[in-house]
């Protein structure tokens, strides 16, 4: 399984990485920590099973990133799980409007995160 993790906080990156490596077999995680990083466009290669996206990374907003992911042919069908430390109804509506498949507030319960990830991957496979 290939996961693209767009997140700037190293502790969060490590935690999410631990969750994936602890509960899934053979997960490959690539991460982007800065807007400039994202603009280099490595993500356009596609082939991701899931994108985990923090709404606030330096250099670019999560909303713009989400829209770009959705508009590029190689990534437009990939489930995007949005995360934020600033949980508001507007943020949720806006990121879902930009194309996010799931939304979770930080800090989250590990099992709820796992449920959400499984649900998103499962939904994609069904389609």
């Amino acid at each position: 399984m290939k996961v693209l993790l767009i997140e700037d906080d190293q502790d969060v990156i490590d935690t999410i990485a631990s969750i994936f490596s602890g509960f899934f077999n053979g997960v490959e995680i690539q991460h982007i920590t800065h807007g400039d990083d994202f603009r280099r466009g490595v993500w356009r290669q596609g082939g991701w099973d899931l994108v985990v996206l923090d709404l606030m990374i330096p250099g670019m907003t999560g909303f713009d990133i989400c829209e770009q992911l959705r508009s590029h042919p190689s990534t437009k069908g990939i489930p995007i799980l949005a995360l934020t430390g600033y949980d508001t109804l507007q943020n949720e509506q806006r990121i879902k409007g930009a194309g996010a498949s799931g939304y979770m507030a930080k800090p989250f319960e590990v099992n709820l995160f796992l449920d959400e990830v499984k649900k998103l991957i499962h939904n994609r496979m069904r389609r």
């Binding site: 502790d11 969060v12 935690t15 600033y86 109804l89 507007q90 930080k106």
Partner: protein, 512 residues
């Protein structure tokens, strides 16, 4: 005494004074004039009597000389003084006006007699025997004229005395009237000054107090109130001023409160976001590790403590975020009683644990209101938690609902709500620790708490206020003081906040 009364007193006094002085002059004036005239008459008759004395004397001497010398010049002198004497008598009579006194009749006949006798003597002297004339003169006329002279002299003396006494009477009356007028004026001036002083003080002293009070208030002493007895118009004015001051003070407190709320909101938002990332790591790592230990492992319990701590932190940060974010909430028709019952279920365990007796006073005819269920539940939960914490050794919690019609909302609450009625009121009362007087205005301030560390963020009531305000309602508190319990009241408009009504309309319009 009211200013109006004082003015009426003052004017009445002036009118009374004019009437008194006028009445006195009306009574004393004619008396004075009468006395003065009588005195003047007496002087005039005295003058005439003096002339009469002179002329009768002249009659005597000129006649005597004529009879001795036979000089015609003396005859002329006699005739002249005789004529003058008669004139004097006529004048004297006219001076007595209506009635002439007894002595006048007597002296008149005496003089007229002696004048006629004189004429006879003159005639006798001219045409008859000179000896006879002399004889008559010596034996009859001279004593008669002598008698006239004595009589007139006596009269002059009497009349002088009378004129003097009449003059004294006038003098006395003038002195007396002057005295009375002086006394009256003195009284008038004293009373006038006293009344005017009281009027002046009744106006100027409160005016000064009002001026100073307004200046002090204007300089920002919003607690300053004007203390004037409510007995007159200034008291009423001071009362109006104080009411205005109360309103300004309340508005000022609201402004300060809102300032603080927005500052705290910004701060909380920033802090919450920063804390959430490390907290994700703490909670996530703890929960990952938890799956690797058996529940009976001592490390499991330790990890569980980390997890619980993280969850508690999350709750606090959640509260800060709720406070800071201007969230949009969905408004729907809800039944308040149902939501209260659902919320009470959440607290049931706490009620049992704290030995709290629950009393429900629900109105059976409560209208459905337009509100956000989860937010309303958050408010209720907060009030219930506060009530539970206020009764650590048990007590009675009373929760009630009622319909509040437009007219029955009290004024101070009416000012706080941004919507029109009718409203639904929810009251949550406890008989616990109560709220001291000096805390009651601060309980809605962000971060104000009296609870032990870890038991409250001090944000519950300010978050609740925010929610209720967003609903177009108000949250109020009453407490009789320490250990006398507290009653919180939530007022919510049945029709929801003004802005939301339009919003719902437009949404349903889009749907159509």
């Amino acid at each position: 005494m009211t200013i109006r009364k004082r003015l009426v007193w003052f004017i009445s006094f002036i009118i009374g004074l004019i009437v008194t002085v006028g009445g006195f002059l009306n009574f004393a004036g004619p008396m004075l004039v009468g006395a003065f005239k009588t005195s003047l008459d007496a002087m005039n008759s005295l003058n005439t009597i003096r002339e009469l004395k002179f002329n009768t004397d002249h009659v005597k001497t000129s006649l005597n000389r004529y009879l001795l010398l036979g000089d015609n010049q003396e005859l002329l002198a006699f005739e002249e003084s005789r004529r003058l004497t008669e004139n004097n008598l006529t004048l004297l009579q006219s001076q007595f006006r209506s009635h002439s006194p007894e002595w006048f009749k007597e002296i008149n006949s005496l003089i007229t007699d002696s004048l006629q006798a004189s004429d006879q003597v003159v005639k006798e002297f001219k045409v008859g025997s000179k000896v006879n004339a002399h004889d008559k003169w010596l034996n009859q006329l001279y004593p008669k004229l002598q008698q006239v002279q004595t009589r007139v002299e006596n009269l002059e003396r009497d009349q002088t005395e009378e004129a003097q006494s009449l003059f004294n009477k006038v003098k006395y009356l003038i002195q007396k009237a002057g005295f009375v007028v002086t006394i009256l004026f003195a009284i008038a001036i004293i009373f006038g000054v006293l009344l005017f002083r009281s009027l002046y003080q009744a106006v100027m002293t409160p005016l000064e107090t009002l001026k100073l009070g307004a200046e002090k208030f204007g300089l920002g002493h919003f607690d300053h109130r004007i203390a004037l007895p409510s007995t007159n118009e200034f008291g009423a004015l001071a009362e109006s001023f104080n009411k205005m001051a109360d309103n300004i003070k309340q508005l000022q407190m609201q402004a300060v409160h809102m300032d603080r709320m927005s500052a705290v909101g910004q701060l909380a938002g920033g802090v919450a976001h920063e804390i959430n990332n490390p907290l994700t790591a703490v909670l996530g790592q703890a929960q990952i590790l938890l799956t690797k230990f058996q529940e009976d492992d001592p490390k499991y319990a330790q990890l569980k403590k980390i997890e619980n701590g993280a969850i508690r932190c999350r709750k606090i940060v959640r509260g800060l975020l709720d406070f800071s974010r201007p969230s949009q909430s969905r408004f729907e028709q809800i039944d308040v009683n149902t939501i209260i019952l659902a919320t009470l279920d959440l607290c049931e365990a706490d009620f049992k644990k704290s030995k709290i007796n629950l009393v429900k006073n629900f109105s059976g005819q409560l209208p459905a209101i337009k509100a956000n269920t989860s937010e309303l539940q958050q408010v209720l939960l907060n009030l219930l938690n506060n009530a539970i914490q206020a009764m650590p050794s048990g007590g009675t919690l009373t929760i009630g609902t009622q319909t509040v019609p437009e007219k029955s909302l009290n004024d101070s609450i009416r000012k706080m709500v941004s919507s029109d009625g009718p409203w639904v009121g929810i009251t949550v009362s406890d008989n616990g620790v109560g709220i001291p007087k000096d805390h009651i205005n601060r309980v809605f301030d962000p971060f104000f708490t009296t609870k032990d560390i870890g038991k409250g963020t001090g944000l519950g009531l300010s978050v609740s206020t925010g929610i209720v305000k967003k609903h177009g309602g108000a949250l109020t508190v009453e407490s009789a003081g320490l250990n006398k319990g507290a009653t919180f009241m939530v007022i919510l408009p049945v029709k929801g906040p003004v802005g939301v009504r339009n919003e719902i309309k437009s949404i349903s319009g889009m749907a159509a």
